[in-house]
Symmetry: C2
């Protein structure tokens, strides 16, 4: 059996420590509320090193945002462009993958969406998925089903919004939902696991409402 390499914080280079800390702080607080001092403290390094490795807070932010967007989009495009799966299978895989990812990293959706609010044009240009999505295999499969009379062509944007909303919204509203429902972290995560089975089922019924 191969010896597994366990990385401790100490094993990271200073540059990596800063990036990891920046990811945590930016994703939790957003660009405007994040302090470079928070990041330095989180990373356990001297404040001046942030400017040594990354010229400015803005540059550091852009790196984190770019990586976050790319990583987030990667999952969608991969699944949505597989020629060998049905639409139903794609939905199941997507929901499974994103619920898993977001359970581990629940701040990502709010991070992306709130920063887009503050700098729409700047960030939306960098959206890799834009034209990729509209030419995807999944969209074609939606179109075929509509042509087959399962639902109307006009419903496709709604169905996509619903898929995204049912999966992502609970994380965007996580503190709100936890407070309203009196849930602790574990109970919330259990609900999210349940949704792996439920969302594909709901999507299926919504796609048969003529």
């Amino acid at each position: 059996m191969a010896k597994k390499k366990v990385m401790r914080e100490m094993d990271f280079s200073t540059e990596e420590k800063i990036k990891n800390a920046a990811r945590v702080v930016f994703q939790k607080k957003g660009l405007a509320a994040a302090r470079t001092r928070d990041i330095a403290e989180e990373a356990g390094v001297n404040l001046a090193l942030l400017n040594y490795y990354f010229r400015s807070k803005e540059k550091l932010f852009e790196i984190i945002m770019y990586e976050t967007l790319t990583n987030f989009a990667k999952g969608i495009t991969g699944i949505f462009n597989d020629e060998n799966t049905t639409l139903e299978e794609k939905i199941g895989l997507l929901v499974e993958k994103y619920l898993e990812m977001l359970t581990n990293d629940p701040n990502i959706p709010m991070f992306i969406l709130s920063e887009i609010r503050n700098r729409p044009k700047d960030l939306l240009e960098k959206l890799p998925a834009k034209s990729v999505l509209s030419n995807s295999v999944a969209i074609n499969q939606f179109g075929e089903m509509a042509a087959g009379g399962e639902f109307s062509e006009k419903d496709i944007p709604h169905l996509l919004m619903n898929l995204l909303g049912l999966t992502v919204f609970p994380f965007v509203g996580k503190p709100f939902i936890m407070a309203l429902g009196g849930l602790d972290e574990l109970e919330f995560n259990t609900l999210m696991q349940e949704r792996k089975k439920m969302i594909p089922l709901w999507m299926k019924t919504m796609m048969s409402v003529k």
Copy 2:
């Protein structure tokens, strides 16, 4: 016919002008990114007057946030506690009301949720709806339907999340969705109008999946 009183900006008191401007700026940019200078300019008043009428940016923010939360919750509690409507009717009324409100004021959900992210305990204490919701007529009606075997008791939190998500999520992700779908403002609003009929229908089908 009675003469309708048309209020122009001039007709507002300085205090009202500041509050109206603060609402716009805070809801658009959030507390951290909003500048008092932006608010003063938006209101068309001298910067020093903000501190004259409201001791600080924080105080002004708290007033706006409190009003926004109260106003947002008011709609839910009213509809959810009506003894004389069925659950199905309540869902229809709620969706209709909120899609209308949010089409006119699309920044509210992101404003509330992103500020809750930054100051969870502080703001969530002020949530009026917390215990109100769990004792509401609507929740009892959900329970009755579950007892009648329409769906499982365990599904109720999911169904509430879905109702909220299907209605509110498109506004939280508005710039993202518009960019991804290549939609302009009018097309987006048209979709939201369509959802007034569709969400209640989808909810109905989700509440019959045994």
